[in-house]
Subunit: 200 residues, 2 copies
């Protein structure tokens, strides 16, 4: 793949929080994302994550009220009916498979989720990683003790515009929405994230 | 980008530990990877990682002895001279920028490192994430107290073959090398990483 094509895919892979809810996501589509997660690197090669796929609208409706959306948009309580996710991937940490630390497990999940979200973009879908959810979400299900729900990936065909902008100062990290409901995300300048380190 | 092209890129993006050491990696190439890291999602959008770029052969030589390679290949002490990485990206956690937990920081670094390693593959390069290194590595540099070296990404033009195979049983996670020095990596079957969860 030409490098420019991948760079464009990365640029297009933005977190979206409003979706075309009536555009269904098939089980095949979800499985194609799990295939990408499966091919991710894993610390100690232990591959401790399992995934539950949800695209049934009634179950999506049960999941939605337990999710926290966009911490910095304090006035906004999440997507309205019609703009909610069409599917979810529930990311479950299998404690029996984990060989290292929790930190390593979450490092692995960062890798796997990026494969999935880049893959979603390549299918004209998008998503949002949600780590802020009510403990009641896991209570919806009969999960064995060794499986721990740690992340929800919400998915759908995106129905909002997201633009990146250069961060004005190192503490100006909050994303924001303008009057046209365009979502702005400040990114640190490249000159600030590359550091020179001097030899002793 | 067609979905098949991205799936192929993910398949090709394997951890490599032997490289064509004399094939230099330019600073421009390293910066192109940091640009991809910059565009990664980040919990609370705090973007707590900074990166130091190393492609000077003399400095690479200083870094190499502090790295741990391939925990499961206990007989192998790492790549021989001529097969060592041509460059490194040192991943430094900026404690002043971090807003959440260490777990979130490492989740973010999983995302960012995957963007970088997929990007490396798109440039016919490859790499290895190394979390096992001696504390003496950080001591080579005059790092301010708020920067903590947490991961080293070794990079180079790959000089070994890596094949994936289906894991035979859930605890058979060790990668191994055959008599032709081909590196085999067992991956859990898709049928085991997708789980059905029942509603209560």
């Amino acid at each position: 793949m030409p490098k420019e094509n991948f760079e464009l895919l990365v640029k297009q892979t933005r977190t979206h929080r409003r979706f075309k809810q009536d555009q269904a996501i098939t089980t095949n589509q979800l499985e194609s994302l799990i295939k990408l997660a499966r091919l991710s690197g894993s610390a100690r090669n232990c591959q401790p994550w399992q995934y539950a796929l949800v695209n049934d609208p009634a179950l999506c409706d049960k999941i939605f009220p337990h999710l926290g959306w966009a911490g910095y948009l304090s006035e906004w309580k999440g997507p309205a009916s019609g703009e909610r996710p069409a599917a979810y991937i529930l990311c479950l940490l299998n404690q029996n498979w984990l060989k290292g630390t929790d930190k390593e497990a979450h490092f692995d999940l960062g890798i796997a989720s990026q494969n999935m979200l880049l893959g979603a973009t390549s299918q004209q879908l998008s998503g949002c990683r949600i780590g802020a959810f009510s403990p009641k979400l896991a209570d919806l299900f009969t999960l064995p003790d060794h499986l721990k729900l740690e992340l929800v990936i919400a998915l759908g065909a995106p129905a909002e515009n997201v633009v990146l902008e250069e961060m004005a100062s190192p503490d100006q990290v909050k994303y924001w929405r303008d009057e046209n409901q365009v979502h702005h995300v400040p990114k640190r300048p490249i000159s600030e994230i590359i550091v020179n380190v001097d030899l002793r």
